[in-house]
Structures are given as C-alpha cells and as structure tokens.
Amino acid sequence: MANNTIKKVCVIGAGTMGAGIAAQVANAGIPVLLLDILPKEGDNRNAVAEGAVAKMLKTEPAPFMGKRAAKLVETGNIEDHLGKVAECDWVVEAIIERLDIKQDLYAKLEAVRTPGTAVSSNTSTIPLAQLTDGRSDAFKQDFLITHFFNPPRYMRLIEIVAGPHSNAETVARVSDFVDRKLGKSVVDAEDSPGFIANRVGTFWIQASVNAAFDLGVTVEEADEIGGRPMGVPKTGIFGLIDLIGIDLMPHLMKSLTSTLPADDPYVKIARSEKLIEDMIETGYTGRKGLGGFYRINREGGGKVMESKDLKSGEYRAAARPGLVRGPAAKGDLGALIEAPGKVGAYAWAVLGPTLAYAASIVPEATKSVVGVDDAMKLGYNWKMGPFEMIDRIGAAKLREKLEASDIPVPAILQQVGDQTFYRIENGKRQYFGTDGAYHDVERAEGVLLLEDIKLASEPLMKNSSAALWDVGDGVVALEFTGKMNALDGEVMKLIQKAIPLVKSDYKALVVYNEGSNFSAGANLGLALFALNIAAWSEVEKSIRGGQDAYKALKYAPFPVVSAPFGLALGGGCEILLNSDAIQAHAETYTGLVETGVGIIPGWGGCGEMLSRWADNPRQPKGPMPAVSKVFEIVSTATVAKSAAEAKDVGFLRHTDQITMNRDRLLHDAKQRALAMVDGYEAPEKPEYRLPGPTGKAALDLAVDSFHKQGKATDHDVTVAGELAYVLSGGDTDMIDTVTEAQMLKLEVEAFMRLARNPKSQARVEHMLETGKPLRN
C-alpha cells in the first residue's frame, strides 16, 4: 500500500495527545485539521486548538520536526468546523476519556464524515464495543482504536484494536499510514482493558512500588536494581514515576481496576500508599511539581540530588548504593533474581509477578508473545520484552520459583515446557505460539533489519570497530560496531578494504547500523591518549586516514547511501556528507560538533558543507555567503534536531530522503542505492572559489563581536579563527581556484594546530569526563 490514500487527517481534541498526534501527522508532510471545543471565555472560537499549537512550538522536546510542519496544522473548533471532516480521510478522536462525551461526538461525526473515512479513538481505557454502541453498521465498519503513546513524536509504539465489525481494509489502511507515514510500530491488540503496554506497565509499576515499601528497599536501591540490570531505562521505577507525574498513578489505577475483573492479578495488587497520597496532596507530583521521589535541592545556592525516605517521608541526600554486582549487573536475570539479600529479594518481587502477569495476558490482550514484547520495548523502552526476559531466566526455573512463591503459573508458561519462547531456526527468528508450535517472526513488507540478516549469515569482513554485511540484491551494509559506534582507524581500514570487494562483487553500499545511535563521532578516548603522549604523527595519520577513507567512499565507482538515525555527530556527520545520498530516519540529530572539543571537522566536513551551501540556489552569490553560513553552523556546533531540520541546515541535500519508520530505514536506503546503480558515475571533484584572508578578516570581526557580547570564550575565538582560515580557503585569492585536496590539507593543518593547543586538549578531556563541553 505504498500509495496510501490518507491525504488529510482530522484530530479532534487538542490536549497533549491530540495535539502531539496532529504534530506527527504534520511532520509526515500531511495536512491536518486540529479541532477542540470552544474556549470558556474570549472571542476567539479557535483559541483552544490555536493555544495547543502555540504551546507545542515552545515545548521541548519539540513535537514538531520543523517550522514547515507547524504550518500544516489547521486549527478550528468542533462547533464551527466539524463539517470539514468531510475533507479528511482519517479522523482521530483524542478527547477526554468519558464514554458519553465520546459517543456524543461520534454521533455528530457520523453525520458529517464521508462514508469510508476511517474514524479511530485514542482511548487508553474504554472498550471499543462501548464506544460504537448506537452507531450505524457503516460507522462501526470504519471504526478502530489507535492508541498512541506520549509523546507521540518520540514513542514508537501504537496499539491498534479492531472490533468485530471493523472493515479489514480500513484497519489495514490506517495501520499502513501510521507505520509508513507516522513511523510508528503497530502492535495489534485485542479489545481488552488497558490493551497491552499499559496493562503490563501499570502492573510492573505497582509491583515495583509495593515491593519497595514491603521490603524496606530505598528509592535509589529500587531504581538501581529495577533499572539497568533489568534492561529498563536508567530512571528505574521511581525516576519514571517522577517523570510521568505521581498524580497520574491513582488515575491509572482507577481506570484499570474499574475495567478489569476482580480476580485479575493487577486488581489484587493495586493499592495506594499514604506517603504517595500525601505527596500528591502537597504538590510533590514529580518533576513537574515541587519534587517527587527525587528532587534537586538548590538551597544555599548548591545543587544536591535528594531522594524521599519511604519510611519517614523526609528528603535526604540521594545515595549511590552500588548493590548490584557481577553477572546480575550485566543482564543475567537469573543471577539477579537469585542474588543474596535485598537485590535478589527485590528483583524477584518485581520480576516474578510482572513476568507471570505478562504471560497471563496472551492471547487475551494480544495474539502472540511477540506483541507483548514489542509493546513493552517500544512503549516503555525496555531493552527486552517479558518473554525475552523469561528466556534469559529459563521458563522452567521461572515456573519453579513462581510455584514456590504461590504465584499461579500462566498457561503459556506451562505450555512452553523446557523450551524457549524464541529460537533461531534456519537463520530465522521464531516464536512460541499459543498453538504450541513455533512460527517465524514476520516482518512487514519493506522492513529489513540487520538483526535478522545476522541470524542467517556471517559478515563479509569485520574487525574490532566495523563489519560489512551482504544485505541482498547486490547491496552491502557497512556497520559500525565500536562503543557508541565511535569511529577510529579500524573503521577507516575496513572502508578501504570494502571498496575493492564491492567494486568487484556488489552494486552498492549503505552505511547503516542498529545501535542506539548512528555514530557519536570519532573515538575521543583514543584521540586523547594520542594527544597526551604527544603522538602527533599518529594524530595526523588518523586525520589523513579518515579523509582518505571518506573520499575513497565518495569517489568509489558505486553508489554509497548513508542511513543515519539518532545521533550522527562529528565524524558520524562527515560520513553522511561524503555519501552520494542520505536516507535519514526522521529522528536524526546530526551536526559538526567538533568545536565543542576545541577542534574543527577534519574528515572533509568543511569542504563538503561549503559545496552544499555554494550549490544552494536560495543563497546570494559571491565569495562570502556560503563561507559565512557554514562558519556560523560549524563554529556554533549546530545540531539539527530532526532530519527535516538537517535539510534546512544543509547536512542533508534537498534530494535526500527521510524515512519515518526506523524499521524501514535499511530497506529504504537499499532501494535508494539500487535506484542509483544504473549509469552511476562517481561525483566530480568540487572546486571552490573562496575569499582568502579578506574573508577570514570578515569572520574574525564577527567573532570579536560575539566575544565582546560574552557569547564566545577566549578559546572559542582561537578555534573559530582556525575554522575561518580553513573555510575562507587559507591564503588563496578570490580569483584562484581551491581544489578539494587543498581544502583537505587546510583542514589537517588547522586541526593539528588546535590538537597541539593545551586548551583544546582540556576540552577533549573534559568532554570525556563529564560528557559536556568545557567553556574555556
């Protein structure tokens, strides 16, 4: 369904979720109508929806991927503009969670919508059958639940619930749209209370809080045990509650307990604590309130992290317990639940009931174990889903411990026996079905994952920092494999080794990986080591080696497509700049951030950015505009906050493409590369007309101004001066031509002067120690 027929969307309800969904539709380049009720006061009848858009433009992290997206949102109110629904192909209802109000709205919608227009609710609690009660069959056919997670731009999960009357084609059309256009990963859920993620998640939160109170475990201990060792984000449980708002807990509890049967294990463990009630009462609702289970105490001008004593209710300096050690700290869940003392006791009190509960909702909440695992990974950012965790522990061992703890063993956990829920068979990942048989984990058409390729093949070549994979159809993928996908000499060696192989045996290369980020840039630790021992020739060799490798990629006789996602910084950005094309995930944060560590881009980034800006038809002509623009971008270490913004900043060309769904990135990049194969010719080498010293003089004047304004430090002036020297072409004259090789030479020379500067070295060291730039 590549040509999705949803061309305009209407979102009704401009609260956090509705507005966020509308923003994501706009991020996909699709016009969206955002409606809400009339304001309680004032003359502007669209004030509610307009206010929501205005608020989003100031919200961080930003719901919009760029300014253009915001312009695609048309605001209105349901009294005056509901008729416009007739223009829309999909209507998302995201209003208050009250059945009567929703039903009333649907009755109005039925009167104005064009037959066939999909209508979905973003409800998280109300069963579908109740929502459509009283509506026509035609309406019921086009109705479904699309349950987004907050914030809609950043959370990848969407649970889709189809009812018995839902038209399969309508459901497929909406699913396809949210997958390809909105970039969400669809998990099909059944029409059961809380659906999947929130049902398991709420249970997990409750079990974790209960256990902390019952076992006398402190907030920090609970988060240390229940966070990273379980593959849960490092906020752990109490940090997470602070983040989502403590006042939300009673609401979650109320909505689930009211819809679940009385004998549901969640209903049995649901309870509230006096201490938490008091916190909500007094405004200690978490990060948005006066404080939460944690707070930063700024009394006396200091900044002390404090945590709540669950017994006394007082704040005290937060501790770093350091309880979890050995294999338990490294993902061995079996070791974690068997650990002596409170580590094992707490881990089991959380994991035992939570995993059992998760296992108990299949197939009631979703048809397969994969749905539960995906929901928790995508909706709660768990590294592993519950069934993957069970495999780690061992189903038999878990059963044994559950029985010993008097926790009922769910059917599927009995059924799996001594086997695992997942296995690899003939290079394919399979899961254990409720029918007792194994089935392939199916990927949607257009989803290609390196993770799957790795199960079925060996790398074509690899070393300590990179690997090369055959991803089919004559395309290879270059994968970074180092820590943080950092780039070093090994990566460059592998690039050089890969080129002749691709040239002789393949058609194209994509630069891609499945780490947390594309690449945070050059390996700074290695660089600092070289700087500390004054191994200047080694440092220079590494810069030249990077230049050589990137330029070899650029001029290789086959297409090279880079597929970034997450962070693509420094050298990770420069490899994009040296590619023939970029297929970027929408959530790509890229920039040349070298000045933050006191250096300048050294792997061809300066020249590539100059080319991009000089070729920009909207730029004024002459020797300075491109130089000034690139100087501004690089000297301030600008990071684009989305792929769309990266186009505006010039890291992406306007011909580069954006993939909304992370899982489709490799496939799209591969297709992009294949489309370039026929008649491919390597790019011509650029030549630059640069202003030379006169341009540097202009840039220096600007930097002096920033220095006076207090916006640039002393060393910023030095670093910016070197950058200005490179970008203005060194000692060239305006009537001369600067070659790419000369630009690269200028980069190396300036880089080396800065590398030898102790203030730059201090910046590198500070960044490695604190993760933050030193402003010296």
């Binding site: 004024p620 505009p625 006169t694 341009g695 220096d700 101004s705 304004q709």
Partner: protein, 378 residues
C-alpha cells in the same frame, strides 16, 4: 551664488526589517513609489528633473545595478531624468542633497530629486559579501561593528544605561505623540502591497515604552556594556525623497519652498567613536553659516544610538527642547541610506510648522564621519 531650496519632502512608512510590512517589498519598488509621491505632491514637472540622486548604504542585490536609474524607470519618469547612486553609509541621502545643491550652484541643473532607500530586510547590513581589507582591519577600527562604537562612546562620555534608556523613552513618546497627532500624515506616501493592503503608517515606533521595559532587555553588543536593542535604532525598511531646486526655479514654477540650504559640512573622526561625528561636522556647518548653536531653533539629530546622541548633545550644547520634536531614529527607525534625507526634509517641514528660522540636521556615519546641513526657513 545661486540659492538652493528644499521644495518638498516625503517618505514611505518605516517598518522594522524582517517582521514589518516591507519585509517582502523590493527596495527599488518602495523608492519608486515614494518618488512618484513626491512628484505628485509637489507638482514639479518631471521633465525638468535633471537627476535622481539616490542614497543607499549597501547598493547591491535588489539595491544594486545603480538603483537610482532603475527607480527612475520604475517610476515612469521621462527617460531624460538621470540617476546616480550615492554612498556615504548613514550619510548617503544627506549627501544626495549636498550633491544636488552643489550641482545647482554650479549651474549643472535646476531641479533634483535627492532620495534615499534601504531595504534592510532585503540586503543585510554589511552586504552579502563583506570582504574587509585584512591589513586595514588589523590596524584600524574601520570595520568595527556600530554597536561596539556606541559602547565606546558610552564609555568615553561615562553614559549610564539608565541615561540612555531615559533618552530612548523620550524618543518613543515623542514619536507616539506625533503619530497620534497625525504629524506624519503629510510626509508619508502610502504603499500598496500586492495583496491590496495599504500601508500608510509607521510600524517601527513603540509608544508607551517605559524605562522599566528597557531595563529588562539584554545587552546587545558587550556583556560588560550599557547598550541594548532598546537604546539602538532598529533595522528598518524605508525610502525618502526630497525635492531640491534653485530658488529661481521654485519661484518661476510656483513650487512651495520650505527652506533654503544655508550651509553644509562633512568631517571625519576616529572610526571607533564614529558616533561623535556630528560634533565637528555641525561646528563646521555653523561656522560656514556664520551662526552659533544659539541661533539654531530646530535640531534633527539622527539617533543611531542613544549613547552617541547624548554625547553629541553634550558636546554641541543642544537644548533638549530643540531636538527631534517628532521623535528620532530610535523610535522611527533608521533605514541607513534613507535617513539623511529624512532628517533634512523633516527639519524643513518643522521650520514651517513651528515658524522657526534655522535648523541643523546632522548624523554620524560608520567608519568615522559626521555630516551636517543647516537650513533657513523660507
């Protein structure tokens, strides 16, 4: 000696760059419309006009190609009317008047349009391709940012931030009052945007600005300094046109004469304190006119910055009640190439309105210059 007179003054509304009504208007279109307005209002015979002298501080991009000539063609003036672009940065269009006056005095023409324009939304200050001479940049403050020079003057004259803000508030209030009283109506030539919207008032002034408002602003140029955006003239889009002719021509053709040009002067100064440029230039002009400051009734002092205005007021001993009766550039705006003609034209109209005898119009100029013009009421 031929007497040279001012026989007409008009301007476009002034709007803040990038966010004002003229952000998407070409400066040549704005200038052509303004010149057309001058001809219509004064009734001058277009075929008699010798030349258009167009001041422009950054004559490139849409202000390039000798904009003076192009504006004449855009305004459908007879082909015989010439065009010359004049650049003395902020003093450009006052120089347009000086040039016209000199030409007339030499018998090189009877009627000139001395105009000025700057679309600061369309061509950035410094231009698109600033390429300073590195050697000069190293040895002089020739390229120093204007804000930095304002800070230097503030330091040299020990001007506090509060004093500058008090001055800025007065300018805003005077402009606000003038707008309310319709004092700008006669000088403004409305401009019609492509969508049919008629722009006939200024968008720059912020009447009602208080010292508290200004005290909350961030320092704009120096973290240790005193100058803010509120005590600086805003980047502005605008155009001005003044009719300059010989007294004889005006008399023969029934033009309404506003003032006679009494004297003119230029004086250079140190680039790093360019804001005090008006001091020496005004002294020269006074001397040439055989007058003293006491003889001057109306002063139009360009408010590039509050700091340099206050410094010039102190050095020249200008009584406050004579200065910028309808507000100055801090409120009205400072389209670089257009301002000089505005403050001469404005002075001429104020002489008429207030029934006074002598006026002084003077301004500072980036790179270190001052320019001054003394008028005598007709």
């Amino acid at each position: 000696m031929v007497d040279v007179v001012i026989a007409g003054y008009v301007r476009s509304p002034f709007h803040p760059a990038y966010r004002g009504a003229f952000a998407r208007v070409r400066p040549d279109d704005l200038a052509a419309n303004t010149i057309r307005g001058l001809i219509d209002r004064t009734g001058v015979k277009a075929e008699d006009i010798e030349d258009i002298v167009m001041g422009c501080a950054f004559p490139e991009g849409e202000q390039g190609f000798n904009i003076a000539r192009l504006v004449g063609l855009l305004a459908d003036l007879p082909l015989s009317v010439g065009g010359i672009t004049m650049n003395r940065f902020c003093g450009s269009s006052m120089s347009s008047i000086h040039y016209a006056a000199g030409q007339i005095a030499m018998g090189a023409g009877d009627v000139f349009i001395a105009a000025g324009v700057e679309g600061m939304s369309r061509v950035p200050m410094t231009g698109f391709n600033p390429m300073p001479n590195p050697a000069l940049a190293a040895k002089s403050a020739a390229y120093l940012g204007m804000g930095d020079t304002a800070e230097n003057v503030a330091k040299k004259y020990s001007l506090t931030r509060a004093e500058q803000e008090a001055f800025a508030v007065k300018s805003q209030n005077k402009a606000g009052e003038a707008m309310k009283n319709g004092s700008f109506t006669d000088e403004i030539v409305p401009y019609t945007l492509p969508d049919g919207t008629v722009i006939d008032t200024d968008g720059t002034p912020r009447p009602g600005t208080t010292t508290e408002d200004l005290a909350g602003l961030k320092l704009a140029f120096d973290a240790e300094g005193t100058v803010t955006a509120g005590t600086s003239s805003p980047l502005t889009d605008g155009a001005v046109a003044v009719l300059v002719c010989s007294a004889d021509y005006a008399a023969k053709n029934g033009l309404k004469v506003m003032a006679k040009i009494k004297s003119m002067a230029i004086s250079g100064c140190a680039p790093e304190i360019m804001g005090i440029g008006p001091v020496e230039a005004s002294k020269k002009a006074l001397k040439r006119a055989g007058l003293t400051m006491d003889d001057i009734d109306i002063v139009e002092l360009n408010e590039a910055f509050a700091s340099q205005s206050l410094a010039c007021i102190a050095d020249l001993g200008i009584p406050e009640e004579k200065i910028n009766l309808d507000g100055g550039a801090i409120a009205i705006g400072h389209p670089l190439g257009a301002t000089g003609a505005r403050i001469v034209g404005k002075a001429a109209s104020l002489l008429q309105r207030e029934g006074k005898t002598y006026s002084l119009s003077t301004q500072c100029i980036g790179g270190g210059q001052g320019i001054a013009t003394i008028l005598e009421k007709a």
